[in-house]
Amino acid sequence: MGRRTALAVGLALLVAVPLIGGEGYFTHLAIVVLVFSILASSLNLLIGYTGLVSIAHAAFFGIGAYASGVVVARYKVPVWLGFCAAVALAALVAAALSLPSFRTRGIYYGIVTVAFQLISSEVFDNWYRVTGGGLGLKGIPRPAAVFQSKVWYYYLTLAFVLAVHFAIVRLTQSSFGLALMAIRDNETKALMLGLRPLRYKAAVFVIAAGFAGLAGSLYAHYIEYAHPDFFNFAVSIDVFLMVVLGGAGTLYGPPVGVLVVEFLREVLHGFAALRLIIFGTMLVLIILFLPQGVVPASVAWARRLRIARPVSPAPDTTSEPRRSAGVPR
């Protein structure tokens, strides 16, 4: 199956989902998966393509959700402006955070992102006048009457998801993307080549945060509610796991990770502690044994099987995973 056929089949499946799900729970799940695929793929820009281990994506997700929710629910601003506000505020906060955080490297950067996640959670929890604190923010409307239908909201989300992923694909294929990967593989060498790693890191951090903000906005206007628990440390871990499980640094990996993690979240609904133990174990196991992620590993495995047989079509080299993909080791 060629690349184009695969893409067409995938698209057809995505379009067909609400035809099967209707207004039921299945479509609801599909919308959540779509929203998280934006989160995972944008976090992948940081982890997979730039080598920045960030555990703060749920914070930007939440900043987007609250920004959009507050301006639309409280100040009756048009919803599309709310979406813009979400992206803008998340990007702005990321820009401000990138100033101190990129003076640090490696695990120090990771620690800064964890600290930022905890700070954000505390603000979501305690800033009653704006976020509603533990009571949550109620009354966030759907964008328009027609989107009261889950089917139509699904298509709205799908449009955004496709746009975001198209942007990410173009980004990774551009000279900007090449620069990011150069920085990931060897920052000193990239610097010697005349790139400015700090600027690239700050730029990609802002872009990823903007996408996360967009995801937050889509989520809040779908659930019509926002609560600190939707955007806490555990959610950051979920998104992180989605990326490294699927395969950091590959385009198809993170969405597959989203499917697996969402499936587990659904199955283990109501067993939060058990779920987190499983997720923690998965994190450790992946880092130890499968740092490149499940998708690249199974592609390589399938290819070996094919090569083992005498009569086989030539392996599709276009989808060759990069050797240095995965969590930087």
Binding site: G106, Y108, I111, V112, A115, I119, N126, G280, V284
Partner: protein, 293 residues
């Protein structure tokens, strides 16, 4: 005012103990062991089992917590970090986060979300500090035990043969292994030592305050704040960082805000990392490599 300082010192002693356990593992093995947060809470619960459920002396409880946590540390080192010995810090960071989540939620599965406390027999009175401030005797005990632990650890690292091996590994792992120092054993001992300290800290906190399974997650990161404040890789820096953070916490809570006290602590972490990445007492070269000579 004096009361605030006294409370701050008690909090600081806990943070310092915890920061110390973080810093020995980090400076010797370069493992950012967030999982210590989980060890910490298990230390508290182990002591609880011994003191409240088995009705034994608190000293026994603290000893059990220390040994149990050290064993836990051995297991964690063997299964979550040994294979990553030559991996990047990022990979170890991720593994550590995984360990933390596993231990925290395992504690929740076993103990539930209830709040526990353990009374220490014979220590239910208050100590007056010259009439200026009052501290429950348990908190005074905490200060004393923490000080003993600092001294013991210092002697162990400076004087013992294993301590010498640890310092060698911290300075240059490859050279150390070429000279025949058994890295695996040093790593295991370091983990046992650090985890034991964290377990002891857990037991002490359990005796001093009431606790839930959730005490660990935040205190784990706060220990990192203390470590970074004091300068990574510096033992004295970790202790000083712990006390400074404890005092700052105490003052913010009393005079500034109780809702946003983590914002202050973590905001400070980000600031310190940005302005003085080597920490307040760290040497200028971004990383001090060995426990301070």
């Amino acid at each position: 005012m004096t009361q605030v300082v006294a409370n701050g010192l008690v909090n600081g002693a806990i943070l310092a103990l915890f920061a110390l356990s973080v810093t020995i593992i980090f400076s010797i093995l370069r493992v950012p062991n967030f999982g210590l947060g989980g060890v910490f809470v298990w230390g508290a619960f182990l002591a609880y089992v011994v003191v409240v459920q088995l009705r034994m002396n608190f000293v026994v409880g603290a000893a059990v917590a220390l040994v149990g946590a050290a064993l836990l540390g051995l297991v964690v080192e063997r299964f979550a970090f040994r294979r990553l010995r030559t991996a990047s810090e990022e990979a170890m960071f991720v593994s550590a986060i995984g360990v933390l989540i596993i231990m925290e939620n395992a504690a929740y599965l076993v103990w539930g979300g209830d709040t526990y406390s353990m009374p220490v027999a014979g220590l239910d009175f208050r100590v007056s500090l010259g009439g200026l401030a009052f501290l429950p005797a348990t908190r005074v005990m905490l200060l004393v035990v923490a000080t003993c632990a600092f001294a013991g650890l210092h002697l162990l690292i400076r004087r013992s043969r294993m301590g010498k091996a640890m310092r060698a590994v911290a300075q240059d792992r490859v050279a150390a292994s070429l000279l025949g120092i058994p890295i695996d054993r040093v790593a295991a001992t370091t983990f046992a030592l650090g985890s034991g300290m964290a377990g002891l800290a857990g037991a002490l906190v359990g005796a001093t305050f009431s606790f839930t399974f959730e005490i660990d997650g935040l205190s784990g990161l706060k220990a990192f704040v203390a470590v970074v404040l004091g300068g990574l890789g510096s033992v004295l820096g970790a202790i000083a960082g712990g006390f400074i953070l404890g005092l700052i916490d105490s003052f913010t809570q009393t005079y500034l805000t109780s809702e946003y006290k983590q914002v202050v602590a973590f905001g400070m972490l980000i600031l310190v990392l940005a302005i003085r990445p080597a920490g307040l007492f760290g040497e200028r070269g971004f990383r001090a490599d060995a426990p301070r000579p």
